[in-house]
């Protein structure tokens, strides 16, 4: 019961925040709306019993990515205006609405094989085992590390002074 209320509140706030990101004229406010969206998403993870993920969501998305975005906004202060749209607005709207409709229809009409088992709590040890343990995704972890290294190098190269 509580879960349902929490879900609805969080869902509506997140959708509103996302709309705010896209529609607000002041870009800084849009960034703040984005942070709100991420936080509500973290709450939704909690309702889904993904506790570790919720923590990581706040840490990474809010703590790093959103900060980075605000940094970039600061650096490009003079020229920005949020909210301006290019001339593709109407076609994109049409396509998006159609896509939305098609996807919802698919989701609603597919008989999902929902299981009745109770979720695991806490998930952290299991996740650790899945990532680093026997028969886990250790290779992907390593590749992720390389990816991060490449991203760092790339970002540095792109913005350094000649």
């Amino acid at each position: 019961m509580g879960l349902a209320i929490a879900f609805w509140i969080l869902a509506i706030v997140s959708v509103a925040a996302a709309l705010a990101v896209v529609l607000l004229r002041d870009i800084f406010r849009a960034a703040l709306a984005l942070i709100l969206c991420f936080l509500t998403i973290a709450g939704l993870y909690v309702t889904l019993s993904a506790d570790f993920l919720a923590a990581v969501q706040v840490l990474i998305y809010v703590g790093a990515i959103a900060i980075l975005i605000i940094l970039a906004i600061m650096l490009t202060r003079e020229v920005q205006r949020g909210g301006l749209t290019n001339k593709l607005q109407i076609p994109v709207l049409v396509v998006v609405v159609l896509l939305l409709g098609a996807l919802i229809y698919t989701m609603v009409s597919t008989p999902w094989a929902v299981s009745t088992a109770m979720p695991l709590v806490p998930t952290t040890p299991v996740l650790a085992g899945k990532l680093f343990g026997e028969g886990g995704f250790i290779l992907v972890v390593e590749m992720a590390a390389v990816l991060l290294l490449v991203a760092i190098l790339g970002a540095i190269v792109l913005v350094r002074e000649k």
């Binding site: 290019n86 593709l88 994109v92 396509v95 998006v96 159609l98 896509l99 098609a102 996807l103 229809y105």
Partner: protein, 629 residues
């Protein structure tokens, strides 16, 4: 005799051509006489082998000598063409004709062409021609023969246009090639039709096929007509006769060899070779006879008014070829070929004589000659002998063969007999008109740039003429008691006998007609009892028609070629090419450019548009999966 020697008959002149072209002309150009010696040696060798071949065929009682053939083309499940030689009496006779005349002409050419810059080229082409002609005669299947047929035509083109920097010679060569091409087209069609109906090109099988009815009535007639059209082209019969008088632009020995004795006889030979086709088709035989007979009188009538001595001889050749066709069409192979045999010798001799006269006076126009009998006795004597033989005066060679033709045409197509008889008169008349204008009277100066007084030709030119003159006298005796007909396989010899002229009416009639012609010529041009100019005045319109050769050249060149083809058909094709073909190609290019210009608008450089297209694509896939499963 070993059959490999038979292959040498045409390979020897071919080797001579190769040696002269690739060895002598590049490297020994300062010793031109080597080219002549090579050719004469090669053809001499061929002549010797031909004589042996003749005796071998005679010893084989007139059947073909066995010669194993070589497989040439073998296509799985269909075409198989062999190369082989067919040496039967017809072949043996033709071999003798070609090698003897060619040999005499080559010897003569050494004198006539002396000092000419193209001496090597001349003998190379002469060798190639002789090789092709001998190959044509020896071939045992129609495809092999067609190859040599075309080779002969090619050499004719090369030799007529020998002095190619003269526009008239170049045009004459083109005309010869193109006109004979028209005939060759029919010939090839005939060969292919024969192949599609019988599956073979072999000549020896033609007799069986025609007899057993493997080729039926109409197809047989059409095949025969096709083959005959090739003969019409090569032998300059009406209506493809226009090239032969123009072919006189070539050197005179060329005219003697090719356009008197051998190549033009190839058409007659072809009809004789494929005679089983004609024997079994009444329509084809009649066609041959009618065209032959008509051509004979047609050409003789034009020859009456010609002033160029070679033109007279050219029209005479066309006329005599018509006689041969008439003989083939009414009587059979032996009669036509016998006339070919005799005609080759005296006609070649006549041309060599004309060449000799040209060598002395520098011109061919008879109106500028005269009185040459006093200074060129040998030329005069041989020319007269040959003319008497041509006119058909007993007991020279031409009498016997012409008499046979008259007899057989009387038996089958009487109208043609009367035309032929009139032609006898005309033939005698124009030949002796030529003699009296050229050799009689007083010398009228010759060509304006000639070097003073004419004199007899050197021995290298006179000796071949004498040899041919001897042959012109005696060659007819082969059929005196019918041995030639028997040899050719046409029944027991029913020769007239040496003194038949005194006992049978027909030979006597033809002899009298010939002598009348000679007398009239004498009256008009020698003793001048009748004035030639007054007679021309009396027959004015007829003379004009004859002098313009019935306007056939104008008909072909102006009406057909210029107006309908060049201005009409070809111009239309050119329009088609420019507008439709080029238009299509340019249109494709223009269309592509326009399409590209339109399509490039998509490339706006903005990723969001591309992202939109991706979205549309995904949407399309999703919707199609949803709706169409």
């Amino acid at each position: 005799m070993p059959h490999q020697l038979l292959w040498l008959i045409f390979l020897l002149p071919l080797f001579s051509f190769i040696i002269i072209s690739f060895v002598l002309r590049p490297f020994c150009n300062d010793k031109p006489q080597l080219g002549g010696y090579t050719t004469i040696a090669a053809i001499g060798g061929s002549f010797v082998i031909s004589v042996f071949a003749l005796f071998a065929v005679m010893a084989n009682s007139g059947h073909a000598l066995p010669v194993p053939d070589i497989e040439w083309v073998l296509i799985e499940g269909g075409v198989s063409i062999h190369l082989g030689l067919l040496v039967d009496p017809l072949t043996a006779v033709m071999l003798i004709v070609v090698t003897v005349v060619s040999l005499m002409v080559q010897i003569y050419s050494q004198g006539y062409m002396h000092g000419d810059a193209g001496y090597h080229r001349y003998f190379a082409f002469m060798s190639l021609f002789t090789a092709s002609m001998l190959g044509l005669v020896l071939a045992d299947n129609l495809v092999f023969m067609f190859v040599f047929w075309e080779g002969v035509g090619l050499c004719s083109y090369l030799l007529i246009g020998f002095w190619f920097h003269k526009p008239s010679a170049a045009n004459a060569a083109k005309k010869a090639f193109i006109v004979t091409r028209l005939g060759d087209f029919g010939f090839l069609a005939g060969i292919l039709a024969l192949y599609f109906n019988t599956g073979t090109f072999d000549i020896a099988m033609l007799h069986e096929l025609a007899v057993t009815g493997a080729i039926s009535g109409t197809i047989l007639t059409w095949v025969a007509i096709g083959v005959f059209s090739g003969a019409v082209g090569k032998s300059a019969q009406f209506p493809l006769h226009v090239w032969l008088p123009d072919a006189m632009e070539g050197p005179t020995p060329v005219s003697a060899l090719i356009h008197a004795a051998t190549m033009v006889a190839a058409g007659v030979f072809l009809v004789a070779r494929t005679f089983p086709l004609f024997e079994h088709s009444m329509e084809a035989m009649t066609t041959v006879a009618i065209i032959g007979g008509f051509t004979a009188i047609f050409a003789a009538s034009i020859g009456l008014v010609m002033t160029d001595i070679k033109r007279v001889l050219a029209y005479s050749t066309i006329s005599q070829l018509g006689y041969m066709m008439l003989g083939l069409g009414t009587g059979g192979v032996a009669i036509g070929i016998f006339h070919l045999f005799n005609h080759a010798f005296f006609k070649a001799l006549l041309f060599l004589g004309a060449g000799s006269v040209n060598h002395a006076t520098g011109t061919f126009d008879m109106r500028q000659m005269g009185g040459l009998r006093k200074v060129m006795p040998w030329t005069y004597a041989t020319f007269v002998i040959a003319s008497l033989s041509l006119a058909g005066v007993w007991p020279l060679a031409g009498f016997w063969s012409k008499d046979e033709i008259l007899a057989s045409s009387l038996a089958s197509q009487p109208i043609l007999f009367y035309l032929a008889l009139i032609t006898v008169f005309m033939t005698a008349f124009y030949m002796f008109r030529a003699i009296f204008m050229t050799f009689g009277g007083e010398y009228r100066g010759g060509a304006p740039e000639a070097h003073g007084h004419p004199h007899e030709s050197p021995p290298v030119m006179v000796v071949p003429m004498v040899i041919l003159a001897v042959l012109a006298v005696v060659s007819g005796f082969w059929n005196v008691n019918g041995q030639f007909s028997a040899f050719m396989g046409h029944g027991a010899g029913h020769g007239p006998g040496f003194f038949a002229v005194l006992t049978h009416p027909l030979p006597l009639l033809s002899l009298v007609v010939a002598i009348l012609g000679i007398v009239l010529a004498y009256a008009m041009y020698s003793a001048k009892w009748l004035s030639a100019e007054r007679i021309r005045g009396m027959f004015g319109p007829i003379h004009t028609v004859l002098a313009h050769k019935y306007w056939f050249d104008e008909l072909y060149e102006d009406v057909f070629v210029r107006k309908s083809m060049i201005n009409g058909f070809f111009a239309g094709l050119q329009q088609f090419d420019t507008n439709v073909v080029d238009g299509t190609v340019n249109g494709v290019a223009d269309g592509t450019i326009a399409g590209g210009r339109a399509l490039r608008q998509i490339q706006t450089g903005q990723l969001q548009l591309y992202g939109l297209f991706i979205g549309i694509g995904i949407l399309a896939i999703m919707l199609s999966v949803l709706f169409f499963g």
